[in-house]
């Protein structure tokens, strides 16, 4: 069965209108907040800038890592939630469907129009995004970039593979790493994320 993204979007939009007495939105197993993409972009790109040219690579790695770890914990919570069980799980027949389900949730969260272009089970994931808010935000604020800028989606793409093919949670973290060979911020027609087995040794190796 194909993943019906519209059902997931509907569930997220309806669920995000419900909050408990403390003003917190508990949805899909996590505490959700709704805030301007301008905030996230300013935070990431100002951080990168303040780290300076000598620490630019380190800044990128930190931002990607923050999203990778977040994506791993977040989507673990999501796939164990009652909302996932009711809305998404009935559409899932394989691990590849699970990844398509993750991507549909990310679309529902407003992260971009993620399209799963290719999955080689256990090896590789290729996701295309025409409207990443990170690439759009960078272009709007700074103009064309010299390098890729979608740090959040890059970390998240790796997390999807960790969860589906990296082994039991939490040991599978960082089994995969992702690159962004194409990014709209540097003039490409879309952003592309490729997650593959990480060359970095895991902590238990």
């Amino acid at each position: 069965m194909a993943i019906d993204g519209s059902k997931i979007i509907h569930a997220v939009m309806e669920g995000s209108r419900i909050r408990e007495s403390k003003g917190i939105i508990p949805l899909f197993g996590v505490y959700l907040s709704l805030f301007s993409t301008q905030y996230y972009n300013q935070l990431s790109f100002d951080f990168e800038k303040r780290m300076g040219p000598r620490r630019q690579e380190e800044a990128k790695k930190l931002l990607i890592g923050a999203a990778h770890e977040c994506g791993y914990a977040t989507f673990e919570g999501i796939r164990n939630s009652t909302e996932w069980e009711h809305v998404v799980a009935p559409m899932i027949e394989s691990k590849e469907d699970e990844i398509r389900g993750f991507a549909a949730v990310a679309v529902a969260f407003g992260w971009g129009d993620l399209e799963v272009a290719e999955i080689i089970p256990g090896e590789k994931l290729r996701i295309r995004v025409g409207g990443s808010y990170e690439a759009r935000g960078f272009l709007d604020r700074y103009g064309r970039a010299k390098s890729e800028k979608c740090y959040m989606l890059r970390g998240v793409a790796a997390a999807f593979m960790d969860l589906s093919y990296g082994g039991d949670y939490p040991d599978g973290y960082s089994t995969f790493a992702a690159e962004e060979p194409m990014c709209r911020a540097k003039g490409d027609p879309f952003c592309e994320f490729v997650a593959a087995k990480s060359h970095r040794p895991r902590q238990d190796d």
Binding site: I9, V12, M13, S16, R17, R19, K22, G23, I24, I25, V30, Y31, L32, S33, L34, F35, S36, T37, Q38, Y39, Y40, Q42, L43, S44, D46, F47, R50, M51, A59, L62, L63, G65, A66, A67, E69, C70, A73, T74, G77, V107, A108, F109, G110, W111, G112, D113, G131, Y133, M152
Partner: protein
Amino acid sequence: MNELKWTDELGRKGHQVMLVGESIAMHCHHYNINLQKTLEDNLGAEGVRLLVKAAEVASYSGFRSLLKQYPRVTTLKSKLEMASVMFQNCGLGILHFQSIRAGGGLIVSPSNHHVTGWLAKHGRRKTAGCHFVRGWIAGALEAIYRQPLGHYTVEETGCKMKRDPECIFQVKAR
């Protein structure tokens, strides 16, 4: 107050999620707290300043749009009520504006997203940590009082992240 029409204001434009005409993203406590920790750990006080500033700029911009869209919301009381509703509806927590004047004031938060998230991920901390909320308050008040960005400073004198009973924010005009 002219009721904030939340169901009309939160919607989608293609793949984007829009709130009062501005692009927003839904993110959970894992990401929000990871970003905060990354900035604090690597840039120290400068990281905190960036966190406050980014929240202030976004909140200011969002509030100006909101007030434009609701021109019949004119009294201070109704604008502050709208700010509380907006904060709560965005899943950011509860804010009580206790004594607010153009020159500053006091705001109390008995719960908020960043406190819940920080405590869930890292437990108690030694210093106040609601930098996002400080910026959010400054930006909202600057829009409400039609002041430029940077007009207010917000300090957090009590914080639930360090197990104080409430988060307390002191606002002063610069």
